[in-house]
Structures are given as structure tokens and as C-alpha cells.
């Protein structure tokens, strides 16, 4: 293959991957197979596979930061099991329910707050959707599509606002600091939440039928809202403060967060052995499948770099003089298309071995790219036919058709594209905070 032209090499790899994926092979196994074949081709003998034994251990065992992944997932499930989502939603209603758009704002705010305790987009959408959807549609007579859309899109904030499983996985894969990636997600996460709420506000002002009745405002309600979710705010405050005041690493913050979440559950009398067991098992499943993807993506990456394919692609693009903005747009377009067909995590790890060296080789910041990747993963979560958040929301929407969720989420899709554009024009939105906190963005 070393003698093959770059175009043919890439074409063969893409066709092989697509064929294996289309055949229904487990994505991690397909990636492992492709990676092993690439290593064999580049090394020319079985001996070239010798690095596998060390690689599959080192990717996991040599990375204390990766320990935070199961712990943050576990914390998210614990928070879910002990009923903090209800408190966050009730509290959010008191704080933003008076703005035109009413309870739709509460969906976004509660998702954003829940996201700060849960690193999963699907879990965020499921937790808040289960509470908000029946209440808003059945009791407050809100129109169905805006409610479903706002919860499906709000759920995606789960992986942008730290802690985020996707940031951890990306950080481990590319060797970037997880603390910096978390910091990089905060400002874009807040801005994206504001963009969502701004859209809801404008839509409600232009056409009040897109939302339901708004609630009256009172300081007492707002304060009572904050009081309702004090435990959630305490947990979030402790996690963020401990990481960024230098008291704890993200992994330590995750461990302590799990214990605090359990303690809160104990105080609310919601902590049971069954709840802990289910949370731990669910965390194990997510961790095992995500880490296997990371390991197999590293095998693909090793094969590709042995064949110098990423380097050759970067050199070819530099030589062709392709405009960076055009290239970036093409990459975004590629992810939008892939996101329609692939599970988001798999999409990320299938493409990172090529995209990461290419983009960083062209001078894009690794931390900034992490934020862009996370938003693209978010988009994949809400694009049909394979958008996990869409399935989750439809599943808890009491039999509403998928089209209601899809149509409801369309405006938020464009809000996210706007966020990507803002980040391209002003990369500082992502890099400022990590630079301020750590001295590098």
C-alpha cells in the first residue's frame, strides 16, 4: 500500500470501513480489524503487531484522567437515581418561567444545570424529558413539537458543559488535558444555552402559539427556585471549584462528586442498594463500550501513522492551497452527513485518526478542535435517522411520532451551526478560559 497513491489508499480504507459498517459489524470490532490490517500492511509481517499488547494496556492504564470517565458517568446516574433532576426542573421554572416562551426556557436551563453534573447527552435528555414532557404537554397544554425539540436539543448540552464524557474520551485520545477541555466547554456551553433561549424568546414573541402560557414573575418564586435546587448547585459548585481552584484533578473531583451525590441521595432517602447497583452497571456498560472504541481507534491511528497517511493528506492539502475556511466547512459537512448514520462516539473515533492530525497540522488549536468536535457530536445526537436524543425523547413522549421530535429540533440544529460559526470566527470563545486558568489554550 505504501506504493499506492494517496487517493487510492484513502479510497480503499473508506470503502473497507463502510462495507464493514454496512454489514452490521460491531463498530469497535470493525475498527480493530481495519487497524490490524493497516498495521500488517505497513509493517509487512506479523511481528509488526507486537505493539498491540502494550497499546491496549497503555491507552487505559497509563492515563489517570481516564479514570474520571466511569466516575463522572456513575455520578450522573446517581444524580438521576436520587431524583435531583426533578428539583432542578422545578427550580428552573421559578427562575425563567416568566420569560416569553415560559416552560421551554425551563427545559433549556434545567438541561444546562443537569449537564454540569452529568456527562452524557442522552442521560440529560432522558432525565429532563421524562419530567418536562408530560407536565408541559398534558397539564400546561404546550404545543408538542417545541417541547420535544427543546428537550432533545437541551439534552445535547450534557456533553458540552463539563463534566463531559466526550471531552474525556477526546482528551485521552489526543493526549490533551481534560481540565483544559472542560474549561474550554464552559463558555460555549453557556453561550449555546443562551442562543437556545434567545431563539425560544424570539419565536414566542413573534408567534405566541409556539409556546404555552408564561408564569408570573416574583422574587420569591425565583429564590424559592434556587432553594429547591440547592443540593444540585452545591454539587456543581464543589466540582467546578475543586478543579479550577487547584484542589483536585478532574478524576478526584469525579470521585468526590460520586460520594456527595450518594450522600445527597441518602439525605433525600432515595439512595438504595438497587439504585447504586444499577447506576454502577450502567456506568460500566458505557465505559467499556467507549474505552473499547478509544483503544480500537488508537489501533487504526497507529496503522494510519505507520503508513504516513495523515501526514500525506495534510501535505497534499497545504500543497493544493485549499482555504482553511473551505476545508473547515467541508469537515463540518462530513460530520453532519456521518452523524446521520453513525453513533456519535463511533463517528468521532472513526474520523479522529485522520481529522486531528490534519487540523492541528494546519494550525488549529487542539483544545478548540475538541469543543468543535463535541458540538458536532451533539449535532449527531439530534440528526435523523440515527440521533440518540431523538429516539430517547420519542420514547418518553407518550406515543408521539418521530416527525414531531425531528421538526421540533430543527431550529436548534441551526442554533448549533451558528455556535460552530461563532467559534470559527472567534476561537477565543473556547480558548480564553483555559488560557486564563492554565496559561494555554
Amino acid at each position: 500500500m505504501a506504493e499506492l497513491s494517496l487517493t487510492w489508499s484513502i479510497l480503499i480504507i473508506i470503502v473497507a470501513i463502510l462495507t464493514l459498517l454496512a454489514s452490521g459489524m460491531l463498530i469497535a470490532l470493525a475498527m480493530a480489524l481495519i487497524g490490524i490490517v493497516l498495521i500488517l500492511i505497513s509493517g509487512g509481517s506479523l511481528a509488526s503487531l507486537g505493539a498491540l499488547g502494550i497499546l491496549q494496556y497503555n491507552v487505559v492504564g497509563d492515563n489517570f484522567g481516564l479514570v474520571s470517565m466511569p466516575l463522572f458517568i456513575f455520578m450522573g446516574y446517581l444524580v438521576l437515581e436520587v431524583g435531583l433532576a426533578e428539583r432542578i426542573y422545578d427550580g428552573s421554572i421559578g427562575i425563567v418561567g416568566f420569560i416569553p416562551g415560559g416552560l421551554l426556557h425551563a427545559n433549556i436551563l434545567s438541561c444546562a444545570i443537569f449537564a454540569a453534573m452529568c456527562g452524557s447527552s442522552v442521560a440529560t435528555a432522558a432525565a429532563l424529558g421524562a419530567i418536562a414532557i408530560p407536565l408541559e404537554i398534558n397539564r400546561h397544554n404546550y404545543p408538542v413539537r417545541p417541547v420535544l425539540g427543546s428537550v432533545a436539543a437541551g439534552g445535547t448540552l450534557g456533553i458540552l458543559i463539563p463534566p463531559s464524557v466526550t471531552f474525556i474520551a477526546y482528551g485521552v485520545f489526543v493526549g490533551e488535558s481534560i481540565g483544559q477541555l472542560f474549561a474550554a466547554g464552559i463558555v460555549p456551553g453557556i453561550i449555546l444555552s443562551c442562543i437556545f433561549m434567545l431563539y425560544i424568546f424570539i419565536a414566542a414573541v413573534i408567534d405566541p402559539s409556539t409556546a404555552g402560557p408564561r408564569l408570573s414573575f416574583s422574587i420569591k418564586k425565583a429564590l424559592s427556585g434556587l432553594a429547591t435546587m440547592w443540593s444540585a448547585l452545591l454539587l456543581i459548585g464543589l466540582i467546578i471549584a475543586s478543579i479550577y481552584l487547584g484542589f483536585a484533578t478532574p478524576t478526584e473531583a469525579a470521585g468526590v462528586g460520586c460520594v456527595i451525590a450518594a450522600a445527597i441521595g441518602f439525605c433525600y432517602r432515595r439512595l438504595t442498594f438497587k439504585a447504586v447497583r444499577e447506576a454502577a452497571m450502567a456506568s460500566l456498560y458505557t465505559t467499556s463500550f467507549m474505552v473499547l472504541l478509544i483503544v480500537t481507534a488508537q489501533i487504526v491511528s497507529l496503522g494510519l501513522s505507520n503508513l504516513e497517511i495523515p501526514q500525506r493528506i495534510t501535505a497534499a492539502i497545504v500543497e493544493a492551497g485549499i482555504n482553511k475556511a473551505v476545508l473547515f466547512s467541508l469537515i463540518v459537512l462530513m460530520y453532519l452527513i456521518l452523524g446521520c448514520f453513525l453513533e456519535p462516539g463511533s463517528m468521532l473515533f472513526l474520523t479522529l485518526p485522520i481529522v486531528y492530525p490534519l487540523m492541528t497540522g494546519l494550525g488549529f488549536s487542539s483544545v478548540w478542535l475538541g469543543v468543535i468536535m463535541v458540538i458536532l457530536v451533539e449535532l449527531a445526537n439530534i440528526t435523523p435517522p440515527v440521533g440518540f436524543n431523538l429516539f430517547v425523547i420519542q420514547g418518553i413522549s407518550e406515543g408521539r411520532p418521530m416527525i414531531d421530535v425531528v421538526v421540533g429540533v430543527i431550529p436548534y440544529f441551526f442554533c448549533m451551526l451558528l455556535m460552530i460559526t461563532l467559534l470559527y470566527v472567534w476561537p477565543e470563545l473556547a480558548t480564553w478560559l483555559p488560557t486564563y486558568l492554565f496559561g494555554r489554550g
Partner: protein, 176 residues
């Protein structure tokens, strides 16, 4: 033959579930020892040296020992857009065929995990930390976990091929 496959499959399923339970317990243990370490460091100014290192070993163990349980719980992902449109029998055959194909990379990963374990064991290699933990221990968890995963893949592929009724494994193999 069918009885033998069912018996073997049940035994493997039990081993995978045990791996899953151990993995889940390790998550809880990791959270607890990390918290205790934070308290020990900030309250008593006596950090526990082993926590960071052993957390990583526990992560290795929980990830690899959990692979089989994750497979049986149907939590690994695959694309079902095209396969899902085929008749049920063809879907089953495709599932078996892709699993058989998947045996190839997992066998290779498994072989090299045992090889690396053995070289660490015979070479008496220890970690470069004050604890000097024998590294064959964490490498052994990788090898055992991948072996369970490999046998789970073979068992499920066998079930699909033989169309054996297989209890909870009748659920979809992964998330499409």
C-alpha cells in the same frame, strides 16, 4: 450438540455477568478510595500513595472485564440502517457472519495481551513507582477480559448460526 452449546453459553454468560459485577463494584471502590485520599490529603495531610496508581489498574480491570457483560447487555454499537431492513433470517446470518469476522481482530488482541502478560511475568517487570507493583497483574486483567470477550463473541455467533433459543441474548446484539 445444541444442548452442549446452550450449556456452554450459559456458563459463559455467568462468567461475563461476574465480570460485569466485578467491574461495577470496582467503579464504586474507585470513587470511595479517591474520596478517602482527598480527605486524607487535605484534612490529615497524609495522602495515600497507592490511590492514583491503583485507580488506573482498577480502570483497566473494569473496562476489560466488563467487555463481555457489555456485549451481552447489547450496549456495543453497530449500524443497523441497512441490515435492519433485511428479512429476520438474513439479519441473523449477517449478525453471525460479522461476529465470526470480529473473532479475527479480538483473537489477535487477545493473543498479544497474553504474550505481553507473559513477558511481564517472566521478566519480573514492576511499575516505576515506589510501590513497584508487578505489572503482570494489570496485564493479566487485560488478557482475561479479552479472553472472556472473545469467547462471548464466539458463543453468540454460534447461537446465531445454530439458531439456538438463547434467553436474554435474544435482544439485539448492540445499539444500532
Amino acid at each position: 450438540m445444541r444442548t452442549l452449546i446452550v450449556a456452554l453459553s450459559k456458563s459463559l454468560s455467568l462468567i461475563s455477568q461476574m465480570g460485569g459485577s466485578i467491574g461495577a463494584a470496582l467503579i464504586v471502590v474507585t470513587a470511595v478510595i479517591i474520596t478517602v485520599n482527598c480527605v486524607a490529603r487535605y484534612v490529615y495531610n497524609r495522602p495515600m500513595m497507592f490511590v492514583d496508581e491503583y485507580s488506573c489498574y482498577m480502570l483497566v480491570a473494569l473496562v476489560y472485564c466488563g467487555l463481555g457483560a457489555t456485549l451481552r447487555a447489547g450496549k456495543h454499537v453497530y449500524v443497523d440502517m441497512f441490515v435492519g431492513k433485511l428479512p429476520a433470517r438474513v439479519q441473523r446470518a449477517m449478525s453471525a457472519a460479522t461476529l465470526v469476522l470480529g473473532v479475527v481482530p479480538v483473537s489477535i488482541m487477545c493473543w498479544y495481551s497474553w504474550k505481553t502478560f507473559w513477558s511481564n511475568y517472566t521478566g519480573k517487570i514492576v511499575s516505576l513507582t515506589p510501590l513497584q507493583t508487578p505489572l503482570w497483574l494489570p496485564y493479566l486483567t487485560v488478557a482475561i477480559g479479552l479472553t472472556i470477550f472473545l469467547f462471548d463473541i464466539i458463543a453468540i455467533a454460534g447461537q446465531r448460526l445454530a439458531s439456538v433459543p438463547h434467553g436474554q441474548d435474544r435482544v439485539a446484539l448492540g445499539r444500532g
